[in-house]
Symmetry: C2
Subunit: 433 residues, 2 copies
């Protein structure tokens, strides 16, 4: 008796799509043994069949028309790896309406229009799987949804952009400037020719929105989250942070405020204590720290991008969808509106690292301290390097817990002082306990 | 309409059992919302109902007879947390035969008699879930079985005993001797009054056997795996390892040898490079590094023991069992005999750290090097501390890749030399790439 098969329509044969196809073939025997189903790629939709590709496109499966996947009654499941938002939305919607299960790795699509898509999925009783959309090969979606099902998620803090982590790692370990590290990342294929979405923090922000929806059942609109990238991180701040016992990492932070039920979601370069395990996450690796009320602290680490790691997650989703294909049950993978509203960034509280370039004369520090004091912001420690021979010198302050809005107000006053030169550098200090 | 319920029979109300009961009550609303089922603890079996307990035992649910759980037709699922082997085996077997799904956290039971139990489970089409049996709150079982389903597992390397990791961490960071660190661990409740099973490596070995069965579908018998604990780790070896750029960790290592299809399973104190993320795993935390052919390197970190973290895993298993309770399908959670036989420990290859106490006179080192050379073992580096004023002095050698059997042979010869005092210290150096 031959095993039952699962018929797959694969849309997109770029880096990840080709990896999915390649690895399903490579480990087909294993997948059959473990899942009890023969996973068959029945049709592949691409824009340009003639394009040169590293993984050979099987010509008999190719179409350029997404409808050939959606309307094929033999196809059980659609894998959406075409990227973009509007066309992908229309395609996924049509797939769900035609009774297909959907697997997608499209973080922008989910962050922008996930709420609509999950409503459509629920209406049609079909699931959407999206393990590959966050942190590549790390199974963070399944972990939060299934393994931590008995936990109230207290916070999720992640290094969820490999390009940024590579840049910061090289700035830290090889004393490179931002521009040098970025160039190196581009040469090695870790950053795209246009790296904007990575370095400005928005790729991480899309993932943070998905993690927030998963943890709290609340889709935070893109315009309600605070996002800073790594472009403005300066080599000297990395060096000062090092002296203070910290590493600088681009962190996505998702946190529930128990009393107000507000959800804090932000992406910012942040100081992490060197002896915290997140500090050991180097190069293009990703890691996500999840704090649950029952499990305590957990961390999940792996490759956050790349053809093979990401396809590992897509294949896991396919196997899950295969196991549940007859259930016609869209729930369990749809998040519900359990909790409240996004927290305004001004109200988010942390410690801070602040560097200002100030005139090197008596009284200047007192003036800065007075402004901070007037805003109710405590100073934890201070570095004033002695080895400089210029008129202006850096002052580095570690500030106590304070709302971000109040710190920004104080900074505005400090920036306007005649003894201050250049933009001050303000970074979060994440207290990871 | 009220939600469908799932009726649970809980056996054992010790540390973990009480945690499961407590946390199911605490987050019952959340569990109902997420799983769509009302998880009801219907009966609790304990040895001594009168015992004083931190979590109050609900008297109306209590029985001292395990049959009251097994034979109750209303009970859908049994949670086995009574510990031990023979009584637990009989109980789980009876539960499966009576059509119950089983959740267990009993690593010794599975390591010793898992093969029999899974055969019984398959025969009766009922599943056994065991997330809590390995690494407490870390969802390593589900991750390997589901999230990495598309991967050939190449190796699993884990810090899977929190007591040992606490002892080694304190020896490293506070320069304690083994006995001092153990005493501290006992005072803090991280080690039991009789710590034998933890410190001799067998608790980790049971977990390694389960991880091997999961990765390779092969139950390695307990007498075929090589186990060393932490009792013989000396403070001076931790200090020398530190000088050489390494931390000493008790590692469980599971590895497939591609060509011979032999499975290497061993537990030993091992040197891990300080810049590897496993080195950052401190105190009672556990972490498991999994290398898959598609996903690459991944790591999963969290509390490896304790009431709450372990009950988080039990509750996840309950929710999984609830979701599949009507499927009457035991597979997917039963491992099959995919691959071969255990690798004899003599054939396992690694680098090594070797310390010998030798007479401090010319020619001694040459004699040791000659013995190593005669056995085909290369020397990578050498430390001979100068600051000693005794007749005997330590010589620390880092040895190149060699089969363990051959290194032990050489060591026997070296040990018998008249210029050598005390037992030499031999530790693995794990090359984690």
């Amino acid at each position: 008796m031959s095993a039952p098969s699962l018929q797959i329509g694969l849309a997109g044969f770029g880096n990840v799509g080709a990896g999915v196809y390649k690895n399903i073939q490579k480990n087909s025997h294993l997948l059959l043994e473990r899942s009890g189903r023969d996973l068959v790629v029945r049709r592949i939709a691409v824009r340009d069949p003639a394009k040169a590709r590293e993984v050979k496109l099987p010509p008999e499966l190719v179409t350029t028309n997404l409808d050939d996947l959606v309307l094929d009654p033999e196809i059980d499941m659609i894998i959406e790896l075409i990227g973009g938002i509007d066309r992908a939305f229309a395609f996924v919607k049509a797939a769900l309406e035609n009774g297909k299960a959907v697997v997608t790795g499209n973080k922008a699509l989910l962050a922008e229009r996930g709420q609509e898509l999950f409503a459509i999925a629920e209406e049609h009783g079909r699931p959407i799987y999206y393990e590959a959309a966050v942190a590549g090969g790390i199974p963070i979606i399944k972990t939060v949804q299934e393994s931590l099902i008995g936990n109230h998620i207290q916070s999720v803090v992640g290094i969820i952009n490999g390009t940024c982590n590579y840049i910061l790692t090289r700035m830290t370990e090889a004393n490179l400037r931002y521009e040098e590290a970025l160039e190196e990342a581009q040469k090695l294929g870790y950053a795209e020719a246009d790296p904007t979405l990575d370095v400005n923090g928005w790729d991480a922000a899309h993932k943070a929105i998905i993690l927030a929806s998963l943890s709290y059942g609340c889709w935070v609109p893109c315009d309600k989250i605070y996002v800073e990238g790594v472009e403005s991180v300066r080599a000297e701040d990395i060096a000062f942070a090092d002296k203070l016992g910290y590493t600088i990492k681009l962190l996505g932070v998702i946190k529930l405020h128990e009393e107000s039920k507000a959800i804090e979601v932000r992406v910012q370069p942040s100081l992490v204590a060197k002896d915290h395990i997140l500090s050991s996450v180097k190069g293009v690796f990703n890691a996500i720290l999840v704090q649950g009320d029952v499990v305590g602290e957990t961390l999940f680490y792996g490759s956050g991008a790349g053809q093979d790691p990401t396809s590992s997650s897509v294949i896991a989703d396919i196997a899950d969808a295969a196991a549940n294909i007859d259930a016609r049950d869209g729930s369990g993978f749809i998040t519900h509106g359990l909790y409240g509203k996004p927290l305004p960034i001004e109200e988010s509280v942390s410690k801070y690292y602040l560097r200002v370039e100030a005139e090197d004369r008596p009284g200047v520090l007192a003036r800065i301290a007075t402004v901070l004091g007037d805003h109710g912001i405590g100073i934890l420690s201070l570095i004033q390097p002695e080895d400089h021979n210029e008129e202006y010198a850096p002052i580095v302050l570690m500030l106590h817990f304070a709302p971000f809005g109040r710190v920004r107000e104080a900074l505005k006053v400090i920036r306007a002082m005649d003894c201050i030169r250049d933009e001050p550098a303000l970074l979060r200090v994440e207290d990871l306990g």
